[in-house]
Structure formats: C-alpha cells, structure tokens
Amino acid sequence: MSNTPVKLKLAGVKKSFGSNKVLQGVDLSIPTGRSLVVIGGSGTGKSVMIKCVLGLITPDAGSILVDGQETISMNTKERARVMRKFGMLFQGAALFDSLRIWENIAFGLIQGRGMHRAEAHEIALDKMKDVGLGRSVAELYPAELSGGMQKRVGLARAIAANPEIIFFDEPTTGLDPITADVINELIVERVKDLGATTLSITHDMASVRKIADDVAMIWQGKIIWHGPVKDLDNTGNEYVDQFINGRAEGPITMAA
C-alpha cells in the first residue's frame, strides 16, 4: 500500500463559516485505486470536506492535491480539466428534473465533453444496464422514479464518463436495508470495473463495511482516526468505538 501513488491528498484543510469552524485542519490521503470511507456525526464537516475537494467551496487554508497537483489555486479552466477526473453521487441524487433519465446520465458527456447525442445515448443505456435499470426507464423523468432507482441513476451518471475518482455522499441514506445493500453492491462492482479511487461519506455502518478499504473518522473538523476497515473494531479510539456501536454514552455528546 505504501508504494501505491497517492491519488488525492488533503493537508491542513480549514474552513469556517463565520464563527463556526467546520474544518480545523483535515489531513487525509487516498492511494490510487483504494476506497476510503469517512465516518462522523452530522455537522462534523464531511460534506464540506468533499465540496472543498470538488471546488464547490473554497477552503480558508490548506492544500488539496490531485495526482500531486495543487487544485486550490487553479483557475477555472484548469479546474474544469481536473474535474473531468471526478464523478459524484449526491445524497439526494441531484438529478436534473427537466431532463429524461438517459439525458441525466449522458449530461456530462454531451454538455461537458461535447459528445454527440446519439453516441452519448448509447453510453447512457450501457451504464443504465450496469446499474440494473432497464431501457424502458430511459425516457422517464426523475420524478417518476423511486428513491432507490434515482440513486441508481445518480450512480450511472457518476460513472458515465469513466472517472478516475468517485465521491459518494451518503449513498444509502433514505433507502430500505435491501435497496441500500443493492446500491452498496453496485458501488463495489462498478468501482472495481473502473479501477477508480473513491471517497465516500456515510453514517451507515453496513455500507462502510461493504464498500471501504480504509476508514477515517472526522470529529470536530479533524481526522481523529484513519486505518484499514479490518481494524475498525479494534481501533482503541473511544470516539470511533462509540460511533460504530451507536452508543449514546461516550465522549461524543450531542450539543444542546
């Protein structure tokens, strides 16, 4: 693992909103081809961290390297070029309401990369098949699909351009346990097919154990533990223990 080149590295990333210090120096690195899952309570900065990497939020301090290249100081053009390496599955799928399902999946190919619609349509249908969606769904609109199907479409859109790095933001939130497991299976299979590096954030421990190679826990804006998923039950870290066992008692207390 130590010889594998680092795909994504965060060093001392800080972000505050007014007096609220959300990220207080996040240090994290993901080797190429590994799947890292970041766990942590609500409001601990997981989503902000991902948005900093994607350039949706500008960090106050720190460094974010993609393939060894600093991204924080990049101009719009360079940023757009680096963004082509990324795919993202949003928590609520974030599908475009006004577009049909196949157009959602092919969106990045057509609008972002200038691919011909007919060619992108074929790729979209292939990706739909990969995530277990039939051709009949292609012409529907997102509002006509269930939550689980929307997540599949979101996954198909995230992998449509064969990205090198994929982010999953709470991929199983709001789904029943069986559908959640199906989504987890799909994530593992598709990521394996692509050989992609992934960063996921979730509360769902079943999901963590299924999709993670490595796990990191964020608490009060810092990574307090980072290690292989097999060590998750023996971290010796009382914060991690409390979180993964879902105990109300422990060092993590809910703010009043």
Partner: protein
C-alpha cells in the same frame, strides 16, 4: 451646599434616563451600520454576479438549445399576459383621456396621447412588471430549487459551468425577448385605444390612424424598446441572482422568489425614470 436625598434621587433618575437614551442611540447606530454593511455587501455581490453573467453570455461554449427554450419560455409564453395588459391599458387610456379632454375641447388629442403613452411608457413598464411577475418568479423558483437540491453543484461536478448553462441563456433571452414583447404590446395597446375611440366614442377610423401615424416618431418607439431591453435584463438577472443564492430549503426558495419579483419591479420603476431622463431631457 449639601445635597438632599431628593436631589440625589433626581440625579439618579437623570443618569438612568441618560443611559437609556445612550443605549438607544448605540443600538440605532448599530442597526444603521449593519443595514449599510448588508446593503454594500449585496450591491457588491450583485455587481460581481452581473459582470460574470455578461462575460458568460459572450464567451463560448454556447448552449443554443437552452437559449431557444428560454426565448420561447420568456417570449412566446408571455405574449398572452402582455397582450391583454396592453389591450386594456390602451382602451382605458382612450376612455380616460376622452373624459378629461372633453373639458378642454381637446378630444382630438386622444390618438396622440394613447400612442405616445403606450409606446414611450406604458407598454415597456407594464410589460416589464408583468414579465417580472411571470418570468422573474419562475426563474428564481427553478434555479433556487436546483440550488437547494444540489443540482447546481452537480452541474459543476459534470464540468458544466452553472453560469453558462443556467444564467447566460436566461439573461440573453430576457434581454432579447422583452423588446419583442413590447413591440407587440405597442401595436395591441394602440389598437385598444383605436377600438374604444372608434366603436365607443365615434371617432373616424381614418382620422384616428392618421393622427397616430403623424404623432409617432422613431425615438418614441425606439426609446420604449431600449427600456424594454434594460427591463428584460433586470428581470432575468434578479431572478437568476436570487435563485442562485437561495438558502434553507423551501422557505429559502419562497423568499428568493419574492425578492426576485419585488427587487426587479422596483428596479424597473427606478430605471424607467433614469432612462426617460436620458432619452427625453
């Protein structure tokens, strides 16, 4: 000279009153300061937003399908509401002018009043306000919903700049289509005046049209169209700005829609005065 307990009580009372006044003055200054800071911040953010919107209108890549869709949404679908507004405004104007002008035996000026009022002022301002209500609200609600459901973030992750995909087509379509709507509104408004004058007030059709044609100059029409372009830009930009910066779920989208309509309506009235001053002073 020694002070009595009564004097001490008065002094304490005065000090207490003075403290209340000072606290009130400090709070008032703070409130004014915060309001001014908020105003400057908003103006700054809006200026940057407008600058970026204009840049993205002119720089490739372009999205012709989206521009065409917005031209139809903003222009074609606003025709009924703008047409009805212009028709009844022209009709009412003719009736009211007749009522007033008969007092001075100046009924013959009705055609001129209708033509000049509609082309210079009423068609652009009323069309602007109607489009602000119909289109500005719709733009703010659509983009605001996209913001709170992370669809705008999704655009960025798919290598599509939100300004190019969402803002530029709407701003371009608003600026192009409102003059077209106003041109149609001019014709319908004058026609409304004609209908009332000829069929209700027994004016001669030929004479009415002749007077209308005689009084109108190119500047009357063009000033209205320039105003319309400015109003279309204002409506689209304010809708996009408030939608793009929408916060806090459904409540935030509702607030963005309200702000978009109110701010664009007020700006239309302010810019109407400024542009009238520029064209006719």
């Amino acid at each position: 000279m020694t002070s009595t307990p009564h004097d001490t009580a008065i002094v304490n009372e005065v000090e207490k009153e003075a403290k209340v006044v000072l606290d009130y003055a400090r709070d008032s200054c703070q409130a004014i300061g915060q309001t001014m800071m908020h105003l400057f911040k908003t103006v700054g953010c809006l200026s940057v937003f407008i600058f970026q919107a204009i840049i993205h209108v002119f720089l490739p890549p372009f999205f012709p399908r989206l521009i065409a869709r917005q031209l139809i949404d903003i222009g074609y679908y606003s025709l009924p509401v703008v047409g009805m507004t212009a028709l009844f405004t022209g009709m009412v104007l003719a009736l009211q002018s007749y009522t007033g002008f008969t007092r001075f035996n100046a009924e013959s000026a009705i055609a001129a009043v209708v033509a000049l009022s509609v082309t210079r002022e009423l068609a652009p301002v009323l069309a602007g306000l109607m489009v602000a209500g119909r289109v500005g609200a719709s733009i703010a609600a659509e983009i605001g919903t996209m913001r709170v459901t992370e669809q705008i973030d999704a655009l960025t992750t798919l290598s599509v700049h939100p300004f190019k995909y969402l803002i530029a087509p709407r701003v371009l379509a608003g600026t192009i289509m409102l003059p077209v709507l106003v041109l149609v509104g001019d014709i319908i408004g004058v026609f409304g005046g004609y209908l009332v004058s000829v069929y209700r007030l027994d004016f001669s059709p030929g004479s009415y049209l002749h007077q209308t044609w005689d009084i109108l100059e190119a500047v009357d029409i063009m000033s209205g169209l320039y105003k319309a372009a400015a109003f279309g830009f204002i409506v689209a930009v304010m809708g996009c700005y408030h939608g793009y910066n929408s916060q806090r779920g459904a409540q935030g989208v509702g607030a963005a829609t309200t702000f978009a309509v109110v701010s664009s309506s007020i700006l239309i009235l302010i810019f109407n005065y400024i542009l009238t001053q520029v064209f006719f002073s």
